[in-house]
Every structure is written in structure tokens, then in C-alpha cells.
């Protein structure tokens, strides 16, 4: 699944139009504890979080994630979106809850991250 397909699947708004949507998504994940994500994140991940500050983009970028998904219509701060565009991290905003997002990803065949 590409980021573009992911965006359509979860009826999301692309908050970072400058980023590449042809990137392949490897797995799905949801967690709001950034220090937990640093220990368990993976490259190509589509990460659902309600956190919207700059460190979210730093984590996503360092882990080489495919996309950050913000649920329930929550707005990400402008500086975070600017940084996301600079770092090439796609941010998707959707009205769905984290639960609904993950349910759709799973139904579409996207796996969870491999357990290490």
C-alpha cells in the first residue's frame, strides 16, 4: 500500500502536499508515548497518534516512517507541519478514531509491525 492509497482508505486530508505519496507503507501502529515509539517504531510505518508537537516529526523522521496519521480531526501545529514538509514526512488528518483507522488498515491487509 502506498501513502496515497492509505490517504484514500482512511478518508484523510493530506496536510503535507509537498511530500512524496508514492512511498510504500510497511506496517501500521498506534501509540502516543513517543519514548515507546522510539523503542518500537519501524521504517515505512504508518503511525497513528494524537500528539501533534514537533517531536512527533523528529521521531517519524529518525525512524524513517512513511506517514503520521492524526485521528479525530485533531489539528497539527503549523511549525510541526512545516518541519514534516522539510523532512519529507507525510502527515494525514482524518475524522476517524485511532481504532477505526487501525481497523481499516488491518482489513486492507496492512500488517502490524513485526514483533522483535
Amino acid at each position: 500500500m502506498t501513502v496515497k492509497e492509505l490517504c484514500e482508505l482512511i478518508e484523510a486530508k493530506d496536510m503535507t502536499p509537498e511530500t512524496d505519496k508514492s512511498v510504500e507503507v510497511s506496517c501500521g501502529y498506534t501509540c502516543d508515548l513517543l519514548s515507546w515509539v522510539m523503542a518500537h517504531g519501524a521504517a515505512g510505518m504508518a503511525w497513528v497518534t494524537v500528539q501533534t508537537h514537533m517531536n512527533v516529526i523528529a521521531v517519524a523522521s529518525l525512524m524513517e516512517m512513511a506517514a503520521v496519521i492524526i485521528p479525530e480531526g485533531i489539528e497539527m501545529e503549523g511549525p510541526s507541519l512545516e518541519k514534516a514538509n522539510d523532512e519529507g514526512i507525510c502527515v494525514l488528518q482524518t475524522g476517524l478514531t485511532a481504532y477505526e483507522i487501525c481497523a481499516r488498515l488491518a482489513a486492507a491487509g496492512l500488517p502490524g509491525k513485526s514483533r522483535d
Binding site: 502516543d32 519514548s35 515507546w36 522510539m38 523503542a39 521504517a43 500528539q51 508537537h53 523528529a58 529518525l62
Partner: protein
């Protein structure tokens, strides 16, 4: 061993918005040197964790990157306050992070254990009232 590259980055205490900038620059630098994706990932994770620790817990410090033909070394040196019980600090789940840090999603008590897990060699020295030095190396071969 001949040093290929040496760079230092000052890290300010409490600077949450800029946290991760040093790690991002270090990752970019190492990528340009042609370091493998796997090593790069380990360095990036450990580097970000140690940079955040400087922001969350220290009174300020410096992050130094050293590269030689055999390994990448990261040295984090702060000016205090020092860790009273290193063994406790190394325990997964233990954290002394502030309410502010926790609101941002930090303080899960994963930082030091995650650094140790990602580094080939990990060393921590700390003295209360003086400061903490963390040295991590990542083998290139």
C-alpha cells in the same frame, strides 16, 4: 584509530521544540559518509534518546560525534545534576521526567535501556552535583 570526523552539538536544557535537531544533523552526516542503513538506524535511535535526556533531565550539555574506520561513537556530556542511582535509572519503566515531559509523550522510562539496546558498547558515568557522561559506540563491521 584515525578519526575521520568529529563534530560537537550543544544541547540546551528544556528546549523541547528543538529537541532532535542534533540527532537529525548527525543522521544526515552519517548518511553522507555512506554508513549502512542498519547502523544508521541504531545510531539515530540512541542519539535521539540521549539528546532528549539532555533536554529533559540535564542542566545542559554537549553531544559529540566521532567517526573512525571501525565505529561511530557518541558522547553525551552534561553539567549536572547527575544521577544518584544509575542501576535504578537503567531499569525499564523507571523515570524521573517532569509533568511537562510526560505531557509531550516522554518519560516512559525507556531512554537509557533503549540506548543500551541499540549501541554495541554502552558506558554511563555519573556524579551528583557534577554531571553525567554517556559513551556509546556502534561497530561499522
Amino acid at each position: 584509530m584515525a578519526i575521520i570526523l568529529e563534530k560537537s552539538f550543544p544541547v540546551e536544557a528544556g528546549a523541547y521544540t528543538t529537541a532532535g535537531e542534533a540527532s537529525t544533523t548527525i543522521k544526515r552526516t552519517l548518511k553522507q559518509l555512506g554508513i549502512s542503513a542498519e547502523v544508521l538506524r541504531h545510531v539515530s535511535v540512541a542519539c535521539y534518546e540521549v539528546e532528549l535526556n539532555l533536554v529533559i533531565h540535564s542542566l545542559g550539555g554537549t553531544l559529540t560525534l566521532l567517526v573512525d574506520p571501525e565505529k561511530v561513537t557518541l558522547i553525551s556530556k552534561d553539567v549536572g545534576p547527575g544521577i544518584p542511582d544509575i542501576e535504578k535509572a537503567m531499569t525499564e519503566g523507571f523515570s524521573t521526567a517532569s509533568a511537562e515531559a510526560r505531557t509531550l509523550g516522554f518519560g516512559a522510562g525507556m531512554g537509557l535501556p533503549n540506548m543500551k539496546r541499540n549501541a554495541t558498547e554502552f558506558d554511563i558515568q555519573s556524579e551528583v552535583g557534577v554531571g553525567t557522561t554517556i559513551t556509546m559506540s556502534f561497530a561499522l563491521t
